[in-house]
Symmetry: C2
């Protein structure tokens, strides 16, 4: 049976199985959802066993559990390690969702739910491509699955797990769908990922909220101070001011930048899609360069003082912020994390106390376009879409990808089927059915071409 026919015949079952997975609110960052991580893992184990793996196990890490499964057909076959994650981002602000984030619905040809794309929807495609190939006796690769539960919080305990289980995870390439394509009709393969450093800072002024009249003007206000400190981290040219921050940045050649500029990009459409009048970023770089080859620095959250209704005239005791920096190849996140801490402490006035905690981080990654898995992926996309995929550098981070390379000595191939409009990490996350089904199709072709490349 052809893959397209198999999808057609099993379409409703695929969706129902995916929805069962989505209904489990496996939010890795919130301790209240700890049990849901186990429920999601057990569900994955069940789905993998039903798809035909030899073995599937929920395995402990120091943090949330992982699911490992494998189908070893022949020692002579190349081995593909499929990586995905079962955890999702928090769904708040809940009031901005049009439907329940954990009760998936299909509307306008899309699945709407937290995790519909990132990464439940995308990782699920691998399960179904595998099921098809196995049931139709077309699989010429050994397949291993590694589904983790901490991707959205920096995969903190997965490197340790990989160190411990090197032999178990051994393979020829890691196959991942956790990225996006340029457009529904412009297939692309992500050849670069940005690294990430993430901090939480706490600024303490007086030991309690003070009356802003009685003390205002004489006592340092921690919110004013934090604002001033954050404000000083980026200069008028959009440069990050942390000393040494750019020292290791791999500068991209003019030729490569010219090549990158050929990828389709419509600035007006881009602005319209996110509802802004003007874009803003580092001077001397285009928008795709700013997210693809340059580091960034964003406040992900800030809070302090009175945030309720009306006016409360206080000089707050504390102010907090969550800060993150996206890094590019060669920037070491540990070094950057420390550079930030040192700098942030150095610019703190003595009238306040500043604490900085590094929450997580990861290295950037580059995938060479001449390796067998890349060529196999290229052919697979060509077969589905009739177009050669464009190699692109993504602004996002999957910190574990560079850790895999370091620990397991394996490169990853990032065949993502998401779209920019999927609103991952945002309210109303969605995933078009067309991407979902074409993804299953493309992945099934990948195995075929990858087996050929390895003959």
């Amino acid at each position: 049976m052809e893959i397209k026919q198999y999808i057609e015949e099993n379409r409703d079952r695929f969706l129902e199985e995916l929805f069962e997975l989505i209904r489990i609110p496996s939010i890795s960052s919130e301790t209240a959802h700890k049990e849901d991580m186990y429920r999601a893992a057990e569900k994955w184990k069940e789905l993998l066993l039903n798809a035909g793996v030899d073995r599937a196990e929920v395995m402990e890490t120091t943090g949330h559990p992982v699911v490992f499964a494998e189908k070893i057909l022949d020692k002579q076959f190349p081995t593909v390690l499929v990586y995905g994650h079962m955890d999702v981002m928090p769904a708040d602000p809940l009031d901005l969702w049009e439907t329940d984030p954990f009760e998936p619905v299909v509307r306008d040809g899309k699945i709407w739910a937290r995790g519909a794309d990132d990464d439940k929807g995308q990782s699920f495609m691998h399960l179904k491509a595998f099921e098809y190939l196995l049931k139709n006796n077309q699989l010429r690769c050994n397949v291993k699955f590694l589904i983790e539960g901490e991707e959205e919080i920096g995969s903190e305990h997965l490197p340790e797990f990989c160190e411990k289980h090197k032999e178990l995870l051994k393979g020829d390439v890691i196959l991942v769908s956790d990225t996006s394509m340029l457009a529904p009709n412009v297939p692309s393969i992500t050849t670069g990922l940005r690294g990430l450093a993430y901090w939480q800072v706490e600024v303490t002024g007086p030991n309690r909220d003070l009356h802003s009249g009685i003390y205002g003007g004489a006592v340092a206000n921690p919110v004013n101070v934090l604002a001033q400190m954050i404000g000083s981290l980026i200069d008028d040219n959009g440069h990050i001011t942390i000393p040494g921050f750019y020292d290791d940045v791999l500068e991209v050649s003019h030729e490569e930048r010219a090549l990158m500029a050929e990828a389709p990009f419509d600035e007006e459409e881009y602005k319209k899609a996110i509802g802004v009048k003007e874009l803003q970023g580092e001077k001397g770089f285009t928008t795709p360069e700013r997210t693809g080859i340059r580091p960034s620095f964003d406040v992900c959250g800030i809070w302090g003082g009175y945030t309720g209704e009306g006016a409360k005239t206080i000089l707050p005791s504390k102010a907090y912020a969550k800060l993150s920096s996206r890094l590019v190849p060669n920037q070491d996140y540990n070094k950057i994390a420390q550079q930030f801490i040192d700098f942030f402490q150095s610019i703190a006035p003595k009238a306040v106390e500043v604490k900085v905690n590094t929450l997580h981080g990861g290295q950037a990654y580059v995938c060479p376009i001449d390796m067998p898995a890349y060529r196999a992926a290229e052919k697979a996309f060509l077969q589905t879409y009739g177009k050669r995929p464009v190699p692109v550098r993504s602004g996002g981070s999957i910190p574990i990808i560079s850790a895999f390379e370091q620990i397991l000595g394996m490169k990853s191939i990032l065949m993502g089927f998401g779209l920019n409009s999927d609103a991952i990490h945002s309210p109303n996350e969605n995933y078009p059915l067309e991407q979902f089904f074409k993804g299953i199709e493309t992945i099934s072709y990948f195995y075929e071409y990858f087996a050929q490349e390895n003959k």
Copy 2:
């Protein structure tokens, strides 16, 4: 009967009556407590009638109700208008309170509750001084009471009420206890109040929270932008940078500053009490000057993006802040409010949208130390404490005080018995019993001396 004996004999009843008032959570800023404002007003009416006024009424305003009462003994007597407020600040953060904010307790010689000082405890002293004088046939003044419900939200509708009821409120002086003394053994009278302007700002970047990897570096982050904008409002010398902000500031002469410097002030004690290592403020001014005669600019609250547990990698859509400025005599709050709006809009990059709302405001106030009511208050303090009170400029604002002067043509005399350690507007607000009872005593003497001054 002497006042001291009367207090001694009625001590428990006074406290129980006050506690009934405190138990009503009359938080004027929160719509959920709208009914509590009426409950508090009815309680005041009952207390005033029991104390012996001729009439007491709960009267409507465009906002929360006010209570008016009067005792007219003789047209030849001078008339004192007692002003107080029955509303309180919100009690959050609730987890920092050692006992329920709306269930008063006496511990370590203090009343602990929201409103224990500000202003339920302080305004209640007037009720009891009045009750004593009337019952003991010692009252030689006519007395009117005006207890409002919107002081903590800027007394928005009281000026309108005053305009409408000029005749009803007519008197010779307004008597208020809503300020502090320098120390338990250092009586003082507040001769100046700062004005206030209060704004809420909203900065909007993209139309939804974005993935900080995919967009970070290319799209203006509203929290980064807001931080930068707030950071630029105060320069390295502690000067507020809003153009024209200092134009109308009444500069205080070197002589007056020298006089002010004679008031007892222990910087080490001050720092210790609020738990800071260093003080920070406008260059060239002392701490009492910074709060007494100079304007200030504080962020009262800030929020935006992800503020939950762990790390969420977003580029937020919106950021908010509540900002306030304390003003000094001659600075017009309407003018300052507009100057800020104009400046804040002018420094906003085009990549974001900025909205500014003025929440409330009020003018600063100065009380001349040679008017009859001031002299009467001075003698009253001298009789209770054995010391002449120090005239001080307070950093706080009671916007309605300058409005009274403007509309009713009456000066106010600010006989406050609070202490800096009362933690008004903060968790664990408290009011020492000694201040409470000495306040009642001092106020009773005031009427005696004020009647003499007016003979």
